[in-house]
Subunit: 172 residues, 2 copies
Amino acid sequence: MSKANPCHGNCPIARVTALLGDGWSLMIIREAFLGSGKFNEFEKRLGIARNILTNRLRKLVEAGLLQRKASETDRRVVEYRLTRSGRALFPVLIALSQWSEQHLSDCSHSVRYVERATGEEIQRIKVLSADGRELDAGELAMLPGPDADPALKARLVAAMEQAGHEAAHAAS
Amino acid sequence: MSKANPCHGNCPIARVTALLGDGWSLMIIREAFLGSGKFNEFEKRLGIARNILTNRLRKLVEAGLLQRKASETDRRVVEYRLTRSGRALFPVLIALSQWSEQHLSDCSHSVRYVERATGEEIQRIKVLSADGRELDAGELAMLPGPDADPALKARLVAAMEQAGHEAAHAAS
DNA sequence: GGATTGGGTTGCAAAATGCAACTAATCGGC
DNA sequence: GCCGATTAGTTGCATTTTGCAACCCAATCC
């Protein structure tokens, strides 16, 4: 990916894409949620090349999503476990998964997410207003926050203006 | 990425990673949400190479996330707009964005998501049980659905068993 | 009709990825 | 304490993907 493209400043999507936007990082996080922790487990369960796995684990550790710790019982093995940051990706993974099931062929009804205690299906992930109504993209505004850099700020202002012109479009 | 690794069958995360797991696809979708539609707009706002952009737009159109249509008013320009599937990625983008803001340095307070009508901040995206309690990863079970292929089924069963052994781990 | 614009394609260099072979430390058996 | 096996890497090399710049062609503007 390029060094200096327009909005790559502190745009949150750009930043998360830089970190997780490759063919493996998200899979590794998913594996970690499924209980993998050792180098070998990731390798075998994902079928990832070992040098790439090394590289990604290091990157994820540096980013603070995984913690690297030598095992107490066997000093050959290294345990990678999700940190608080890593576990906070939980809603992202579920949202992605639900989207896949609904919109990609071959993914429908391959996994059921249920609450362990009750066995009931969880809700579909939604964007909610402060008072709990479900919002869609058209009802949302993205404003530059206090720490937005100039490029991001300009981009968001431009988007706001564009949104004004469109007003009502609904068809797909 | 490899051709045939263990769980790449119909695992939803694997499938969405295959589609959006590169440095640009998600950025393109984000741009589309921000109002971009023309080839040039994507190119300039993202700083993406034109051959790569061509490739990604085609892929996203094939996957049904974007719709490609020649403009009515100027037959040189092509409009790419989000389909229903594409717009359904909205919660995913918001979840990713919120995660970035909370867990990546330089992303904090760069964007504020507010409801257009009221100006109020939206809620944090959560995983909710059927009756509306917030769940975390430990409270969730992933069961193979009716269409899970054998590899995925085996993987999920293994994860369930592993989860049994762990029971209570909370530290990070 | 000539220059410009929009949306590409093509060729080539650079970077990322995949694969297999090799290491270094640790373990378990004896 | 030695020996083979296991774990987590590393290294070298072939293949694939990216990025960049130049080129192309139809539609549009003047």
